[in-house]
């Protein structure tokens, strides 16, 4: 067993894990954060995307022991507990960007990272190309693309109103 200490959704966590434990297993099995999903075994589907030190990472491709000292954000930590939803979450609901919901946490975490990298004005082509690593079988992506464009804009106005404060 190996010991790993990291921050998950703002809380310090220390866990004893089998060295082969993946980050997604640490989240789901040890911490019972089951919002991060596993949809494949070849790092294609993106259902397991979380943020590690602010960047989107497929949590099925990282060993937990690699993340000593890291700051991990999963879907459960995206919006403050009992606070309003993150604008990207709200955009997915408003634009019917989900059906079965299984790929959704990974989609939302990817989308937030996409905005960080590409800005708040995202055209369809950019969003579709950036979703190469996230597979959805339900929606045909049409409304996911719409959600991400709307969520990106909403994040800009959120950021603007924060700056004004």
């Amino acid at each position: 067993m190996a010991t790993v200490s990291l921050t998950v959704n703002g809380k310090s966590v220390t866990a004893d894990v089998d060295p082969r434990t993946l980050l997604v297993q640490l989240l789901r099995e040890n911490l019972r954060l089951t919002g991060t999903h596993v949809g494949c075994d070849t790092s294609q589907c993106g259902a397991c995307v979380v943020h590690v030190n602010g960047e989107a990472v497929k949590s099925c491709t990282v060993l937990a022991v690699q993340l000593d000292g890291a700051d991990v954000l999963s879907i459960e930590g995206l919006a403050p507990a009992n606070g309003p939803l993150h604008p990207m979450q709200e955009a997915f609901r408003e634009n019917h960007g989900l059906q079965c919901g299984y790929c959704t946490p990974g989609m939302i975490m990817t989308a937030v990272d996409m905005v960080r990298r590409k800005g708040h004005e995202l055209d369809d082509r950019t969003i579709r190309e950036e979703l190469e690593g996230n597979i959805c079988r339900c929606t045909g992506y049409h409304n996911i693309v719409k959600s991400i464009a709307a969520g990106a804009r909403a994040m800009a106005s959120g950021a603007a109103s924060k700056a004004a404060e």
């Binding site: 089951t34 919002g35 589907c45 019917h96 059906q99 299984y102 579709r128 079988r137 045909g140």
Partner: protein, 803 residues
């Protein structure tokens, strides 16, 4: 229309938990003392099992048990079943081979489970599975369905000589022959409907728990129809009496048909849980899902259409070989027969149709219902024939369709169905306008100047949903009724729980069923909960598939609401001291006709339970009603999809540059959700047409066994989709709903292929039309790279080489 009633684009109630990571999928559930199952699977497509040596595996760390097929048989756990009897044309019953949940004596496809390891952790189970030593006697395999019936090929099951399950037919052979004899033109096509792998993003999973004190078993399972699973696992597999088995299908991450079926893994998990006395969890990994989740389609067809000189269709003749894989599954016999040949009339008046279907075993995974189930295969045959016939007769493809549309209803086809309502011309016209068909020639010329081949393709499809009148299904061989149940529980405070036998796995029933209640009872949608997916809560239900939840499940809800309203009126009559016949109910208020006396919904609900204002002997206290709704007909959604593509002749790459969908689903409860269903269905159909295809090698190894090898459509494969509707009400159910879940997947493949063949000028292309396949077709037809070069050279002269 109220803001939350029928027809409103209400945002989904279920989304809160999904967007915050608070869903409850099967793998999210854990039980105290839980163990993990990992299956040992056959690496061979066809082999005898000489021995299974579990000695080394049993002594591995953390191993609780290693169980095999002989032990399963010794415990008298029955095999898996097919629930639909098909008779061959000679009257003999289909040849259903035994399907043990763990192979005993013989394996019949790669991935066939042979043994299971139960261990303290998944990693330990997986490690130990590698130590189970199975001695196989490898046999030659048969993989290609077109070869399966030939003399001298390997025989898979003793009960099925020539690997033939049935040789079925439908229609009038002699009448069809006569129609062909009188024809001025015959269009012929050879069609392969490619084999698909469903790939719901949530892999299948099972969590089984045995309670020794009560001798009960509970199964949490990724199921589209938990009650059917319980019935089959109890009555046919003999796991436990029905009342001692609880099946819970919690949040389910997509199904598309693949989660209808009762598979070996959940049966074995239940059995193992009882054997080891602890909960057992099995979660499929994606690689297993590729190997063993039931695949879809896989037809080889020769089809002919007879026409007169003016393009009127006189008859159709279709011969199909359907590959059902190594074992039959729950619905697999019905898919290429009654869900296929019955749709061969399309939207057209066709006087004579004759269809023959041979279903065969091969050493491949099972094939069963996948989104559309038989109807996409039929639509592909019809819409390709019509399109090619139009081209051969030099008739505009829209005009060709218009000429042959069914225009009066009801319309009896020569293949069982009686279409009840529709306006095919209206959806075609609307689609032509939205797609700007008139401007296509100009767009094609502009594309040609860029060195691109532009094409347009139509699909005017029909499908049959709302499965289905139980007696009719029984007459066709179905093993169960196809009604749906619903229970409406009104609480004393007026809030409402709807318990439905339908099951949602992405369709948004928690919202749409609540909309129907809100509309009918005038209560806020927040005060309505939809309960589904638990056999201990919902008494019985047939589940969700075949686009049946709206047409059948909601009809059951309406029937129960009718009873609730009738009973509530009785209570209101006592409260208002009026005659029952004078009570009117509107917008959540009961009033006495012609007076200002009224009592709100909540007052009636409370008084129904307090029971002070009426005699409990004359009127039962409480407010709860149950219904079982049996449909009187199938429903017939229909519409027109138009696909526009640009093919790059140098690479063969197809880009879909326009998609128009105009569908008639009858009454729509929530247009936002219906649009989402279209988007998803079209995406799956485009996947079939452009990139998806399961490929086995000659030894029966699945070559497309991962998401790296099997091309699932990504966001950048797909276009934005223009969706619109026309509406003819479905006359056979109370809400007028036809169903929308499968239409996109049914309509879209022929639209894509018609567009590509229109672009490249040759019909010789099979699905999936990958860049390589399109490029090869262009080379073969002589309309290849050279033409692209010529075109660019002549660009300035604006020569329309391709038109």
């Amino acid at each position: 229309m109220s803001a939350t009633g029928i027809g409103a684009a209400v945002r989904r109630k279920e989304d809160q938990r999904f967007i915050t990571g608070k869903g409850h999928y099967t793998d999210d559930i854990n039980r105290p003392g839980q163990t993990y199952a990992y299956f040992v699977r056959s690496p061979h497509a066809h082999a005898t099992i000489k021995s299974v040596d579990s000695g080394a595996a049993s002594s591995m760390p953390g191993v609780v048990a290693v169980l095999n097929g002989a032990e399963l048989a010794a415990d008298k756990i029955g095999g898996l079943i097919c629930g639909w009897m098909i008779h061959s044309k000679d009257g003999s019953p289909m040849k259903a081979a035994p399907h043990p949940a763990l192979a005993n004596n013989k394996v019949c496809h790669v991935g066939d489970p042979v043994a299971v390891v139960i261990a303290e952790t998944l990693a330990q189970a997986r490690d130990a599975a590698e130590k189970v030593n199975v001695d196989y006697g490898v046999l030659p395999a048969v993989i290609d369905p077109a070869q399966a019936q030939r003399a001298g090929v390997p025989q898979i099951h003793e009960v099925a000589p020539n690997n033939t399950i049935y040789q079925w037919h439908l229609g009038d052979a002699a009448g069809t022959d006569a129609a062909f004899k009188s024809a001025a033109h015959v269009t012929k096509l050879d069609i392969v409907n490619n084999r698909l792998i469903p790939n719901a993003i949530e892999p299948r999973a099972a969590l089984a728990e045995y309670d020794a004190g009560n001798e009960t078993l509970t199964l949490w399972n990724t199921s589209q129809n938990p009650h059917v699973a319980r019935l089959v696992i109890s009555a046919f597999i003999g796991m436990a009496p029905e009342h001692k088995l609880r099946v819970i299908a919690p949040d389910v991450g997509g199904g598309f048909g693949s989660k209808i079926f009762i598979y070996p893994e959940e049966v074995v998990s239940l059995w193992a849980s009882r054997r080891v006395g602890r909960p057992v969890k099995w979660v499929s990994d994606r690689s297993e899902a590729f190997l063993v989740d039931a695949h879809g389609r896989d037809h080889v067809t020769h089809a002919e259409m007879a026409l007169d000189a003016a393009g009127k269709i006189l008859g159709m003749r279709v011969k199909t070989v359907a590959n059902l894989g190594a074992y039959m599954q729950v619905f697999s016999s019905a898919v290429p027969t009654y869900l296929y040949a019955t749709l061969l009339s399309g939207q057209y008046q066709i006087p004579q149709i004759y269809c023959e279907v041979d279903a065969v075993y091969t050493n491949t995974n099972s094939v069963d219902a996948y989104r559309g189930a038989g109807r996409p295969e039929a639509t592909f045959v019809v819409e390709r024939l019509v399109e090619v016939a139009a081209r051969e007769l030099d008739i505009d493809p829209a005009e060709m369709r218009r000429k042959n549309f069914v225009k009066t209803f009801p319309h009896q086809t020569p293949v069982i169905f009686a279409y009840d309502a529709g306006d095919y011309e209206a959806s075609l016209k609307k689609a032509l306008d939205i797609a700007d068909y008139k401007g296509f020639a100009k767009r094609k010329r502009e594309a040609a100047r860029q060195g691109k081949l532009r094409g347009i393709g139509f699909s005017t499809y029909i499908e049959a949903c709302g499965l289905a009148p139980s007696q009719a299904v029984g007459a066709l061989g179905g093993g169960v009724g196809q009604w749906e149940s619903c229970e409406v529980r009104v609480n004393p405070t007026g809030s409402i729980e709807v318990l439905t036998g339908s099951h949602a796995h992405g369709q948004g029933h928690e919202t749409t069923f609540a909309q129907v209640v809100a509309e009918r009872l005038g209560v806020p949608i927040e005060n309505v909960s939809i309960v589904h997916g638990d056999t201990d809560k919902v008494q019985f239900g047939m589940g969700t598939y075949g686009s049946r939840s709206g047409a059948v499940g909601m009809s059951a809800l309406v029937k129960a609401l009718d009873k609730v309203e009738a009973k509530a009126k009785k209570v209101a009559a006592h409260l208002l001291e009026a005659a029952e016949g004078d009570i009117e109910f509107k917008d959540g208020n009961f009033s006495v006709a012609g007076t200002d006396k009224s009592v709100p919904w909540g007052g009636v609900a409370l008084n129904a339970y307090i029971a002070h204002k009426f005699n409990g002997q004359e009127l039962e206290p409480g407010l709860k009603e149950t219904s079982f709704y049996d449909p009187t007909n199938f429903t017939f959604p229909a519409g027109c999809h138009i696909c526009e593509v640009e093919v790059d002749p140098e690479t063969g790459n197809t880009e879909i540059v326009g998609w128009t969908a105009v569908d008639d689903f009858g009454v729509v409860i929530n247009p936002m959700i219906v649009e989402g269903q279209i988007h998803g269905g079209v995406a799956q159909g485009i996947g079939q047409a452009l990139c998806e295809g399961a490929i086995y090698d000659r030894e029966g190894q699945l070559v497309t066994g991962s998401l790296m090898d099997y091309c699932m459509p990504r966001a950048d494969h797909l276009p934005a989709i223009k969706v619109d509707t026309t509406m003819t009400k479905c006359p056979s159910n109370p809400l007028g709903i036809k169903g929308c879940g499968e239409a996109g997947a049914i309509a879209s493949p022929p639209a894509v292929i018609n567009a590509i063949t229109n672009a490249i000028g040759t019909e010789d292309i099979a699905m999936p039309a990958t860049p390589q396949a399109v490029w090869a077709a262009l080379q073969k037809s002589g309309r290849s790279l050279a033409r692209g070069v010529i075109q660019r050279d002549t660009e300035k002269k604006n020569v329309q080489l391709y038109l």
